[in-house]
């Protein structure tokens, strides 16, 4: 078991590249070590959590549905930037999983509490 707190920052759009899927792979790998994990969705990455997406229509693999399984991996600290949602006219009701919406200060506080941060 790893005691260091690991933060994973998502920043990319869902289908533009592999970053979102790679971030999720990193999260699932880290969860195998029972590390305390926190996920941060900033900027355009909030689109990764929007409900009712159909990756097959975009010719992409469906990694987005794996977000719904995060609770099974005991990944429950999922933070979303309030500013990122507001800038895209989204709210937490538009998202496919339960998250904690935080202000910029809240995000900064949570990031400061991490021992190790990966950004994708």
């Amino acid at each position: 078991m790893v005691e260091s707190k690991i933060g994973v920052i998502f920043t990319a759009l869902p289908f533009a590249n592999q970053q979102g899927r790679e971030a999720l792979d990193a999260v699932l790998a880290a969860s195998a070590y029972e590390a305390p994990l926190s996920l941060f969705f900033l900027d355009d990455s909030v689109w990764q959590l929007v409900k009712a997406q159909d990756p097959l229509q975009a010719g992409a693999k469906d990694y987005l549905s794996t977000f719904k399984a995060l609770a099974l991996y005991d990944v429950e600290d999922i933070f979303v930037s309030q500013d990122a949602l507001a800038a895209r006219h989204l709210s937490s009701e538009d998202l496919s999983i339960e998250v904690r919406v935080l202000s910029s200060q809240g995000i900064r506080d949570q990031l400061a509490a991490q021992d190790c941060i990966y950004r994708f």
Binding site: D44, L56, Q57, H89
Partner: protein, 86 residues
């Protein structure tokens, strides 16, 4: 001369914006569909419906954006004098 500007990203839109003319039209596809949710030029605007659906944007379609599918996109490229993919 009319030009169809094909936009595949927000950055592409920023590059194209200054070169759009009153007789032009804009087509958003792929990640360019996200840009169609923001400020748009006062030109005819289209997006690829399947790309918008993939991103769960279809229900958020702005009033001035028309959804089209690829056969229509092909016919549009034939109607316009020029097509520029940014």
């Amino acid at each position: 001369m009319s030009t169809l500007h094909i936009i595949c990203s927000r950055q592409a839109y920023l590059r194209a914006q200054g070169l759009m003319d009153a007789s032009d039209a804009v087509l958003f596809h792929g990640d360019g569909c996200y840009q169609a949710l923001e400020v748009l030029p006062s030109l005819p605007c289209y997006w690829v419906g399947s790309d918008a659906k993939a991103r769960a944007l279809a229900s958020r379609c702005p009033q001035k954006v028309t959804a089209v599918e690829w056969p229509k996109v092909v016919s549009m490229t034939l109607v316009f004098d020029n097509t520029v993919t940014w």
